[in-house]
């Protein structure tokens, strides 16, 4: 059937007519919408503005209680404390200056506090409450409440603030919280409205920062009825937020306190680790500082004192320090050579006190040399020449591969700030980093943990734990989040031949338990807790030929910052390894004299329930140890039950 042109035209006219009708109806409705808009926004604007400003039903955020940080047995490392403060809300206040002047008569306000309040008010929206004064006494808060009618827009508040009862013991591991800053806001891309609350505390470094998401919790809201000056009349309903989850660490607060006290004012770090599951029992760095100073905003004087101290109290040396591991690295060289088949446990090397290579003399620390030594003798006497020799047979790439397998040059992921990766150099690394070819001299230096090799105390503890257990244990800091236990990951075996591991373990045992071992004086006498380990003394300067000829200057004669680092790594009990320990004392001198005794005390403290028993020490040292223990500034022991400091 064909349509006629007339039909088509009639239809088109009809469509046009109806489309125009639809368009007209729509235009009319849009006009109605516009009129309604005008009515609400122009004619009734004042009514609604009043409603908005004095919103009868007001919504306030309730900051959640921050999760506690606990030690492995539930002792509070970071808790919450009530903080009385006074806030002012500009849009409810009217004449801000007059109200502030009246407030200053009621509670003590310094000119700086007033200045800060005014500045803060200019920067924030009118409806945001600004903290005028905090850490007030209860009396001050009551005074503000009594004078409420004269102080519109001023409200007393009780907030929660972070408190670190153990002061310096966990300053580095746990870090601290501080008021959220503009820089934080720009950096975080975190839309959580809580961050808009002035002085809201967020984690700045350490566990506080890296576990922020778990610790913070979710804000609650309360709807309150307010009167025309914005004073709260009654609470209509309340949805409590979700408190942050408690984070339980693997660290034992008592062991941590002991180790921290034992390091004293030295610039030093120590790590104690469970070799069976990687739990970090103590992660100490000295000197320490009081994290509570940062919570309220640290004063310039206090901050300068911390930054200008040459012992760098702010640095977390146990994870962010990178030190030449010195002779503690020799196990890596030995295992690399053994695994490569380049040497056996029996291979003997003659040490005349130096090794000549390419016209250069590489010295052994022992003038006159060790004579002919095999693996056990070389580790026990810490003979350098033996390792110069076997390192060349193994080659640097094999050594580096073994180092990485044992956890050196690898970043161990823990919720702590500035974790160092260290350096485990190989040929590719040097080409990449220094644009130069690897030299045999570099291998010789690396073989005794000098040259390019750098490791953190944490990495050294991991290395020791892996040698002691034969398994690739990884360090673990978080035991549980809320009620949820953090599972221990898979611990695969290292894949090193058992007889090679045994040879190195036996040599480490000889270092401490055989006459003539470098750490013989730091042995443990108790048969059930025998100690195995390795000392290290790493140079921080080059010894020139002239100096060597005139006799090497002893450490005591050098300025502090040019003295050798003292290192020690070890594990106990030797027969069934439980804990590994590493100690680095910056510019401390010799590893056997300075680092090994600290390591022994630390590991004995971890193995025993309280102070290390004197019976564990060799009989002739017990009086000295007893005095030393008496002089240690330990925290008073507290019951291990979790005390809630939540309000």
């Amino acid at each position: 059937m064909r349509r006629t042109a007339r039909d088509a035209e009639a239809t088109a006219r009809k469509v046009t007519r109806r489309a125009l009708f639809l368009g007209g109806a729509q235009a009319a409705f849009i006009a109605v919408l516009g009129a309604r808009m005008r009515y609400m926004q122009v004619e009734e604007a004042d009514k609604y503005r009043l409603l908005a400003e004095e919103n009868r039903i007001n919504m306030r955020l309730i900051p959640p209680a921050r999760g506690l940080i606990l030690d492995r047995s539930g002792r509070v490392i970071a808790g919450n404390q009530q903080n009385y403060r006074v806030v002012i809300t500009r849009e409810e206040t009217g004449d801000v200056e007059a109200v502030l002047a009246r407030l200053a008569e009621v509670i003590p306000l310094t000119p700086e506090m007033l200045e800060r309040t005014r500045k803060e008010m200019d920067r924030r929206s009118a409806f945001v409450p600004i903290v005028v004064a905090d850490w007030l006494r209860w009396d001050d808060l009551a005074a503000v409440a009594v004078n409420a009618p004269a102080l519109p827009g001023v409200n007393p508040e009780v907030g929660l603030s972070r408190r670190y009862p153990l002061v310096g013991d966990f300053a580095h591991v746990v870090g601290y919280v501080g008021p959220v800053s503009d820089a934080d806001l720009a950096e975080l891309e975190d839309p959580d409205p809580l961050l808009q609350i002035p002085k809201f505390q967020i984690g700045k470094i350490g566990v506080e920062r890296w576990m922020e998401a778990d610790l913070r919790g979710r804000s609650g809201t309360r709807r309150i009825e307010v009167n025309s000056v914005g004073r709260v009349m009654r609470e209509l309903d309340r949805q409590d937020g979700v408190a942050g989850a408690d984070v339980r660490l693997t660290i034992d607060a008592d062991v941590q306190n002991f180790v921290q006290a034992r390091l004293g004012e030295e610039s030093a770090a120590a790590v104690v680790m469970d070799v069976t599951n990687g739990d970090l029992i103590a992660v100490a760095s000295a000197p320490s500082f009081d994290p509570n100073l940062f919570v309220r905003g640290i004063s310039q004087a206090d901050y300068s004192a911390l930054t200008e101290n040459d012992h760098r109290p702010l640095a977390n040396k146990s994870v962010q320090g990178a030190y030449p591991p010195g002779s503690t690295f020799k196990m890596v060289t030995a295992l690399a050579a053994l695994e490569a088949g380049a040497v056996t446990e029996k291979t003997a090397v003659h040490c005349p006190g130096f090794l000549e290579f390419g016209g250069r003399r590489f010295h052994c620390w022992k003038h006159g040399g060790h004579g002919t030594v095999s693996l056990e003798g070389a580790l026990k006497g810490s003979c350098d020449v033996y390792f110069y020799d076997i390192a060349q047979r193994a080659g640097i790439d094999r050594i580096a591969e073994m180092g990485r397998r044992l956890g050196l040059g690898v970043r161990h992921d823990l919720p702590m700030s500035a974790i160092s990766e260290g350096v485990m150099p190989d040929k590719a690394w040097k080409r990449d980093r220094h644009k130069a070819e690897w030299r045999i001299g570099d291998t010789i230096n690396a073989s005794i943990g000098q040259g390019y090799v750098l490791a953190s105390p944490l990495q050294l503890a991991v290395m020791t734990a892996r040698i002691a257990s034969g398994n690739a244990v990884s360090p673990r800091l978080v035991h549980a989040i809320g009620d949820r236990e953090v599972p221990v990951g898979d611990i695969p075996p290292l894949g090193i031949a058992p007889q090679h591991l045994r040879a190195v373990q036996e040599a480490m045992f000889a270092v401490m338990n055989a006459q003539g071992g470098t750490a013989w004086t730091s042995r443990i006498a108790d048969e059930t807790m025998l100690f195995a380990g390795k000392t290290g003394t790493s140079q921080v300067r080059n010894i020139s030929a002239a100096e060597r000829a005139s006799g090497v200057i002893s450490n005591e004669q050098l300025p502090w910052n040019r003295r050798d680092h003292a290192l020690f790594v070890g594990y106990a009990p030797a027969s069934a390894p439980r804990y590994a320990v590493s100690v680095v004392v910056e510019h401390g001198g010799g590893g056997s004299a300075v680092a090994a005794p600290i390591a022994r005390d630390a590991i004995l403290r971890a193995l025993s329930d309280g102070l290390p028993p004197l019976s564990a020490y060799p009989a002739n040292q017990r009086t000295t140890i007893e005095t030393q223990q008496k002089n240690m500034k330990l925290r008073k022991p507290e019951p291990a039950a979790a005390q809630s400091s939540r309000a």
């Binding site: 239809t11 639809l22 919504m59």
Partner: protein, 379 residues
């Protein structure tokens, strides 16, 4: 046989099509979408995340899609209308059985990265189907009962599927969009009169059957109607949204409180502030000037659609453009009436401002079709 075929030779081809795009419409769309980005940035507390940036990406993708569809000849789109309609109905059936449930309603389906709401897609494909139907139908049969029943069925099937999801707002929009096309096609006014009478009866029965086992609506839908009629009866419950939205809107005044200064939205008084209620933030922060400007831009978009319809010579393009223009109008009319307290709260987003992927993409597809009709109109 339609008017399309003999006009083909007069239509631009190849790259010249770009010149014939309705660039004014493109400009207005970009302007409206940009207002949306600003508001999403503001309600997120001055952050591109979590809403503004994804929305920008979607709009950019939508623009590309629109230009691509604009290049497709309109007669090809007509021939595909039946297929598109069929797929949409199948998708609606699919969400009925496999869809995700959110906000007390079954609405979307996850297809890889895309979260598709077939009910949104249906709004456009239904209009396409009806336009194609009337293009095919002999105009003299338009008002014969049998030939009226077919489009009524075409509308009723998807509307019923959407209603049982349950999504009352979208179901109503499908009915109104379909009715608009039928109206424009010239169906006798008697039918519309009869339906209006039936509708009045239905509304009466909705209320009389309330509380009996035969009630039509869900309890939450009844409550929404109650609170619409008198929001102050329940200031903390369902009426809370409406009261707070009106306070936000009204307190904006003539020129608003300023960008990012809206106390209502920033203090979290507003529910759904990034989706259905985003207009209140705009009105609060930019006042009557901002809100009315948006209204004018919306009016301009509808004007462009209807003007293109007048310029088209073929029945399919005309009805399609009228249908799309009306559907777009219903979006904003329902949403704005709702936030201004002139209609009960039904979940209808504000086009291009509310955060959401499906609506944005579907609208861009629709405007791609509008552009195609504009480009391929005979000159």
């Amino acid at each position: 046989m339609s008017f399309l075929e003999y006009q083909i030779k007069t239509v631009p081809g190849g790259i010249r099509k770009i010149l014939y795009l309705n660039w004014g419409l493109v400009l207005v769309l970009v302007a409206v979408a940009s207002m949306g980005f600003l508001m999403l940035y503001s309600v997120a507390g001055g952050s591109l995340q979590p809403w503004a940036e994804p929305q920008m990406k979607r709009f950019a993708a939508g623009l590309v899609l629109m230009f691509a569809i604009a290049m497709v000849p309109i007669w090809f789109i007509r021939n595909m209308a039946g297929l598109a309609y069929g797929i949409s109905v199948l998708l609606l059936l699919a969400v009925e059985f496999f869809g995700e449930v959110g906000m007390g309603a079954q609405r979307w389906i996850d297809i890889g990265p895309l979260r598709l709401q077939p009910s949104e897609l249906m709004k456009i494909t239904l209009v396409m189907m009806l336009a194609a139907y009337y293009d095919w139908l002999d105009t003299r049969k338009t008002s014969r009962p049998l030939w009226v029943l077919i489009p009524v069925a075409l509308i009723a099937v998807p509307a019923a599927l959407v209603l049982i999801q349950p999504n009352l707002g979208t179901a109503l929009m499908l009915l109104m969009g379909g009715a608009a096309v039928m109206f424009a096609a010239g169906v006798s006014l008697w039918y519309f009169g009869a339906v209006a009478a039936l509708g009045a009866g239905a509304i009466a029965s909705v209320f009389t059957l309330r509380g009996t086992p035969w009630q039509f609506l869900h309890d939450y839908q009844y409550r929404r109607i109650d609170t619409f009629l008198d929001p102050t009866t329940d200031p903390l419950g369902a009426g809370y949204n409406i009261i707070q939205a009106q306070i936000a809107l009204g307190s904006g005044g003539w020129s608003g409180k300023g960008f990012m200064q809206g106390t209502q939205s920033r203090l979290n008084f507003l529910p759904e502030k990034h989706t259905d209620f985003i207009f209140t933030t705009l009105a609060e922060e930019f006042g009557f000037i901002g809100a009315f400007s948006l209204l004018l831009l919306y009016g301009l978009i509808i004007f462009f659609c209807l003007a293109s319809a007048m310029q088209s010579k073929d029945r399919f393009s005309q009805l399609l453009l009228i249908g799309i223009g009306c559907t777009f109008f219903f979006y904003l009319a329902v949403n704005l009436s709702m936030v201004m307290g002139m209609a009960p709260v039904v979940g209808v987003p504000l086009p291009f401002l509310s955060y959401g992927g499906s609506v944005m993409l579907v609208l861009m597809v629709a405007f791609g079709v509008v552009q195609s009709a504009h480009v391929h109109r005979p000159r």
